[in-house]
Structure formats: C-alpha cells, structure tokens
C-alpha cells in the first residue's frame, strides 16, 4: 500500500440551502486508483473542486502530507502535486497545444522555450501513447485529443503525484475508453495517485482499487478491491431506495398520410469552423413518428437540428416540407410551417432572461393578440392557464423573471412552449436533461401524445435506453454520415454502439496528421 498523499476529514460544502457535500472523509494513497462514484448531482464534482481548491470548503479539513492546509487554492494544490483534468477542458482554442501547455506551467518561466517544451511534450506523448502534436491549434482537435492535452498539462509539472479526473470518459468514444483505462493503470504503475470521478459501473469495477460512493452529498460507503466488488451493491449504493421509472407503454404508431412530412435529400451541413460535419444526409421525418438521433456527442447533432430548423445554413442538398422545397427559408418561415425546437442549451438559445416567463411563452409559443396594436398579456395568461401542458410540466409562475429560473425550470418552460402549439415537427435536443424522474416521465408521455396527434419528432439524446424506448426509428450520426434508419426492435444496443464507434474511428483517423 502506498504512502497517503491526502486525507480529507469532514469536508462540507453548502450552496445556499443546498448541502452539496456533507462531512466527507477520504484517504488518497500513491499508486492506487480511487473511484468516486455516484449519480448525477450526488456531489462528486463539488467534492473534486474542493480537493483541487476551486471551491473553499464550508467546513472540514484537507490534510496533505500529514499537514492540514490553509487557504487551499488551485495554485497551492498544483504546488503540492495535485493536478486536475477537468470535464470542461481548460484550453484556449486559438492557441497551439504548446502554448496551452506553457500557460499551465508554474514557476519562473517568462519566455517560451519552444524547442525544450516541444521535446518534453513529445516525450510524454510517447510514454503514455497520447495523440498530441505540440504545434497544432487546439480548435482543430477532437475532444479525445483535448483530453490528452489536459493530461500532458498535469504530467508536465514535475511535482504532480495525484491526478484527479472529472468524468473523463464522458467525452470519449467507447473504443477510446478502453485505451483510457489502460492509461490509468499505467499511471498507477508509475506511482501516481489517481482519483476517478464517474458514474459508470463498468469503469469502476475494471480499474479501481477503492470505491467511495456518494449519494445526495453524503458518503454512503467505501469498498476496497480486496473485499471484492459487487456490482449490484454498488448500484444500490448509488441509487438508494429509488426505483427506476418504467419506460412508458408505447402504443403502436399511427399513420398520417394526409399531413405533410419532412424530408432531407443529400443534405450537407458545416460546423462553426466551416468544415463539413455531415455529408449527404438523407432522412424522412414522417408525421406521427419519433426519429431518435444517436451518436457520440459532437458528431453533428447540433448542426443537423439547427439546419433543419433554419438556424444554420444548409450548404448542400434540399430540405422539403410536404414536397415544398424549404432549403433556404428562415426559422420564421419554418415556425409558420409548425417547426419547433428545444435546443441543447435553452438558456442560451431560447430564453430572454430579462423577460418574464409569460413574455417568454409568447416567443414562438402561443401567438399574442393585440388590440389597436397593443399586446393583450392578460389574454395570453388566460389561454395559457387553460393548457394542460403548463400544469403537467410544472412551468413556473408567469410573473417570474426568466433570468431567475433554475436550469430545470428553464428546461420545463422551453419544452412546454415548444409543444403547446401542436407543432408539425418538434426538434427536441436532450429534452430530459437536468429534470427529475417524474418530469422526465412527463416529457416522455408528452412526446408520445404529440406523436399520436401527428407531430414528427426528432429526439436527440445521449441516453441509448431512452432512445430505444421512445423512438420509432433511429439514425446514427458518425463519421460525417447519418446512418440508418434502424428500427429499435430489430437491432440491439451493442450493435448500434459499434456503429457509433466505427464512424468515430474514421473521424479520428482523418484528423490525425
């Protein structure tokens, strides 16, 4: 057993009325992989940020090398050999890999020595088989490569002896995950203490030496590998008493031959860097059907939905609505055709923060009425009150300022707004993200109800079980292509997962110089 690097005693973090971490104890030892497991919102990230000094603890002590630390902050943490690989990478896209690494260096280095640094980056890349070229600009790299830069930033500091990984595999394709886990084992062999935050059981049982399970901010239990890992026990620890909501019973889809459908013919879409992220997409979105979009995130989900909605230019091919070519129409025109969209970042894309909830509901929700040019808000309020969606989705009161709403409430409001007008096409990107179980079930029920009333639905999700349960057909976005459609009942999750990888492998190969 290795030397104990860090001890944590009674660490507590309170945000307003929320206790994110409640008296957590941990011991972190050199040469061991310590997994922190828990569901989303269990307090894992908060704990890591306290260990790395991003958040000051409300209560409790951090002891490094048997000495309690004072005024713990990231700079001090790095000095003491604690490095963190964040989930949202701390990288500047406009800089090269080398410049990003240089920025992270501590100590008295004021002028870049490119030659020396290039050499050191290449050496680390070789040792751990990282796929990083020092002089590439970061914005050209995919997420896996960006993670490698973060790892280099951590390792290049000679003090480093403890590595914290915050949900490292969430940005990786499955074939990359295996390689990543191998890398963790190599770190362990080289004597680093590894702290791995994850909610994926498979990863934990594969590599961890010790598991600490958090639930609702509290430490539930700690298990050592020597004592044996029991998958069922770990899952029970993470989920607690709560049972998973059963997927709703899905009635057979009805046909709506008289309603105009949406079709994509050889559509090409470019990303923000003007590269063709999707080519030659052919897709039929029939009314009364849910089309699930699967794929590793960043494979064109956002670009595709934006292009269908009209917020992004279609740079090749055609989009039609009931036979009418609408390739070059604006979002306004498509909204008049009944298109609605809930984007992946509704606060950023769908909400005016300085408006009230009621005013926001008027943005492509229900139309406002005017008398002598004057908007009748009372009328809108009454018509909204009559709608069951408002109640079912628990949309906050009309007079609240949208800027004061929580993420979940924003999601509820934008989803209710999108469905309230019985759209012809609903583009729903991660509609259940950030919602509690009951509301997720309500979202699913609403989607099915819309489907059975004749809406064509595009459902983008990272959650394969959700996609399988909800979709009438599935499209996989991978390697610049839209593959499918697949019928969920005719294929299994494993096969679809492989497909997602296959495309992604091609993608990575192309970007490697």
């Amino acid at each position: 057993m290795g030397k104990t690097i860090m001890r944590v005693r009674g660490l507590t973090k309170v945000f307003g009325s929320l206790t994110a971490n409640d008296h957590i104890d941990l011991d972190i030892e050199a040469g061991r992989i310590h997994a922190i497991a828990g569901e989303n919102g269990a307090g894992k990230s908060t704990l890591m940020k306290m260990l790395y000094g991003v958040y000051p603890a409300t209560e409790g002590t951090i002891i490094v090398d048997e000495t309690p630390v004072n005024g713990w902050n990231p700079a001090l943490a790095r000095e003491n050999g604690v490095s963190m690989v964040f989930q949202d990478f701390r990288l500047i896209p406009a800089f090269t890999v080398l410049e990003n690494v240089f920025l992270s260096l501590t100590g008295r280095r004021y002028v870049i020595n490119r030659k020396d640094l290039r050499h050191r980056i290449r050496a680390l890349s070789e040792t751990y088989q990282l796929n990083v070229e020092p002089d590439q600009e970061v914005w050209k790299l995919d997420l896996g490569q960006r993670q490698h830069i973060e790892i280099i930033k951590a390792l290049i500091n000679p003090n480093t002896r403890m590595l914290i990984f915050d949900e490292p595999t969430s940005v990786l394709a499955p074939h990359e995950i295996a390689r990543f886990l191998d890398m963790l084992l190599q770190f362990r062999a080289d004597g680093y203490a590894v702290l791995l935050i994850t909610h994926k059981i498979h990863e934990i049982t594969t590599v961890a030496d010790q598991i600490t399970i958090l639930r609702q901010g509290k430490k539930v239990c700690a298990i050592n590998r020597e004592d044996g890992f029991d998958q069922a026990a770990i899952i029970a620890g993470m989920l607690g008493e709560q049972t998973m909501e059963e997927a709703p019973e899905k009635p057979a889809a009805r046909e709506f031959p008289q309603l105009p459908g949406i079709a994509l013919r050889a559509v090409t879409v470019r990303d923000d860097h003007n590269r063709e992220i999707l080519q030659n997409v052919n897709m039929e979105l029939a009314r009364g059907r849910i089309m699930g979009i699967a794929g590793i995130s960043g494979n064109g989900q956002r670009e595709l939905t934006e292009a269908i909605f009209g917020a992004r230019k279609i740079s090749g091919g055609h989009l039609s609505y009931g036979g009418e070519d609408i390739t070059h129409t604006s979002p306004g025109q498509r909204i008049r055709h009944g298109f609605r969209m809930v984007t992946e970042d509704p606060l950023h894309d769908n909400v005016v923060e300085s408006f009230t909830v009621l005013q926001n509901m008027a943005l492509a929700g229900l139309d406002v009425t005017t008398t002598h040019g004057r908007i009748d808000w009372e009328d809108l309020r009454q018509r909204l009150a009559e709608r069951p969606e408002m109640e079912a989705m628990k949309v906050p009161a009309g007079d609240r300022l949208a800027g004061t709403l929580s993420g979940g409430n924003v999601q509820r409001m934008t989803f209710a707004r999108a469905v309230i007008s019985q759209p012809s096409l609903l583009l729903a990107c991660y509609p259940s993200r950030g919602l509690d179980v009951a509301t997720v079930a309500e979202v699913h029920r609403t989607l099915l109800r819309l489907r059975d009333a004749g809406t064509a639905i595009v459902l983008v999700s990272e959650d394969l079980p959700e996609l399988f349960a909800m979709s009438d057909s599935l499209t996989v976005l991978a390697g610049h292509q839209a593959l499918g459609p697949f019928i969920p009942s005719d294929c299994d999750i494993q096969e679809l997962g492989k497909l997602m990888l296959k495309g992604d492998g091609g993608n990575a190969a192309e970007q490697t110089p």
């Binding site: 990288l91 896209p93 406009a94 800089f95 240089f102 920025l103 992270s104």
Partner: protein, 302 residues
C-alpha cells in the same frame, strides 16, 4: 533633401502617433477590451505633455506626464468597461468628450505658444546614409522608441507568459482564472498600458509633430488607431504597415497640395477616415481575421 526623403520624413512623423495608439489598443483588444478612449488618452497626452514641456522645457518630464495622464484615462476606461460593465464603446466615447472638455479648459493658456526645442538626435554615421539616414536615423527619442514598439509588443504577446496570459483573457478568461491568474487585473493592466502608449503618441504629436497645442487636435486619430487594429488582424508586426500607410497617405496629400494640385482641403482631411473605413471593409470581407473571441462577440454579435 530630395522630395522622396521629404515625403518619407512626414510619413514617419504623421504615422508615429498612430503607431503608439495602435500598438497600445492592440494590447488592450487582445485582452478583450476595445478602448475607444485611446482618443481621449492621446488628447490628454498631447495637452498635458505639451504644457509640461512648455513650462519646464524638459521633454523627459513631458513624456512622463503624458504617460501618466494617458494611463489615467485608460484606468477610467478599464473601471467602466470591466467593473461597471458599461458598453465599452460608449464609455470610450464619453471619455473622449470628457477629455475634450478638460483639455480645452486647461489648455486654453497654451493655445498661442509654441515649443521649439530641437529634439532630434541624429545618430552618428547612420544619419548620413542617403535617403534612409534622415528618415530613420535623424529623429527624436520618441520616434526611435516607436520603431521598436511593435516588435517589442510582438515579442511579449507571442513569446512570453505574460503575453499569452493577456491573449488568453481575450479568448477564454475562465481559463486564465483556472490557472490562478486574475483576468480582471490583466485586463486592467492591458487597458492602462493602452492608455499610456496612446498618451505617448499624443505628446509626440503636440511636441514633435505640430509643436503646438490646439483644441481637439487629435481629431479622431485615436478612433482610426482602434480601427486599424482590426486591419492588422491583431498582429503587432502589422502595426508598422498600418500606421505608416496612414502616414504616407497624409504625407502624399500634403505634398500634392503644396505642389498646387487642385484638391479641396476638405477632401484631404476626409481621406484618412475614408481610407480607414475602406480598409475595414476590405479586411472584414476577405478571410476572417484571427479576432479575439471576446471582441468577436462585441463586434458581430452572436
């Protein structure tokens, strides 16, 4: 001296104040803050610098006073734009009017005087090279320093940690902060430096170029400098090209007028603004320049 030499000398003279303000504002813009207040910094630098030079007959004190005054205006801009979250365009604009008033008020006694101390230090031997000698090596200290300025800015911004930190603030301040540096302090420093350099440009203009003070004598040169930063695509070494192009345009127009070519004086005066506008148009229609992300948000919206 032949005519080409004359034109080149006035190119340098007209371009130097712009070069200072341009390099300064480029540093500020790299940190994500556009300082339209460099106009105001130049104005106070010109006025106070000239006043100090006239009263003390010391160019050193004049330059120091101009640096301080220009930096102070930069500080106000930084405070308004960074801490008060004012629209940075509007605050720069307000500071221009404020300094117009201040310099009119304090400069009223300087209107009828001139400062004619010989300031040039011809470098031995070098200044005797034909054409280049008088143009490059027979100048005042401020002009000599200006020759080095963009190169120094280039070195700092691309080769040093400090420079990369400044640029990182203009791209992703949250990353800068994650490295334990305070983006706010860096922005303050960058905007104050922008003001100081603009102040130096101002004193160069009043003490060396026109050798007098007149109300609102900067007359939009600070704005032009801010616009030329875009023309340079935020690359320091291109500041030479932009500033001297501007200087050359002015020099040529003066030359043509002296030669009796019949152009309206007002066309001459309008041309720098027109050229800057045209240059901005050309640069923004051609390939997208490497604009700092924070500036991109301001100038082209989401």
């Amino acid at each position: 001296m032949n005519e080409i030499t004359t034109i080149l000398i006035s190119t340098i003279a007209a371009g130097t104040p712009i070069l200072y303000a341009l390099t300064g504002d480029m540093i500020g813009q790299r940190a994500g803050i556009i300082s339209l207040s460099v106009e105001g910094s130049m104005l106070v630098g010109a006025c106070i610098g000239f006043g100090v030079a006239y009263r003390t007959q010391s160019m050193t004190l004049a330059v120091l006073a101009a640096l301080a005054a220009g930096g102070l205006v930069g500080f106000l801009q930084a405070f308004l734009a960074i801490d008060r979250k004012t629209n940075m365009m509007a605050s720069g604009f307000v500071l221009m009017f404020f300094t117009q008033g201040l310099t009119a008020f304090y400069g009223r006694t300087l209107l009828d005087v001139s400062f004619r101390k010989p300031l040039t230090f011809p470098l031995p031997f070098l200044s005797e090279i034909p054409v280049l000698g008088p143009v490059l090596f027979s100048q005042d200290i401020l002009t000599y320093l200006s020759f080095l300025l963009p190169a120094a800015a280039w070195f700092v911004l691309t080769k040093t940690k400090l420079g990369l930190l400044v640029c990182s603030v203009g791209e992703r301040p949250e990353v800068t902060q994650a490295y334990g540096h305070d983006p706010r302090k860096i922005q303050y420093a960058a905007v104050i430096i922008a003001g100081m350099l603009a102040g130096a440009g101002g004193v160069q203009m009043s003490c060396v170029y026109t050798m007098s003070w007149s109300n609102d004598m900067i007359n939009g040169r600070g704005f032009i400098a801010s616009a030329l930063v875009i023309l340079c695509s935020w690359k320091p070494l291109r500041a030479y090209m932009a500033a001297y192009l501007f200087g050359l345009a002015q020099a040529l127009l003066v030359y043509l007028q002296v030669k009796g070519v019949p152009i309206s004086m007002y066309v001459t005066m309008m041309l720098p603004y027109l050229l800057t506008l045209a240059a901005l148009g050309i640069i923004s229609t051609s390939k997208k320049p490497s604009m700092p992300e924070k500036i991109k948000v301001i100038s082209t919206g989401p």
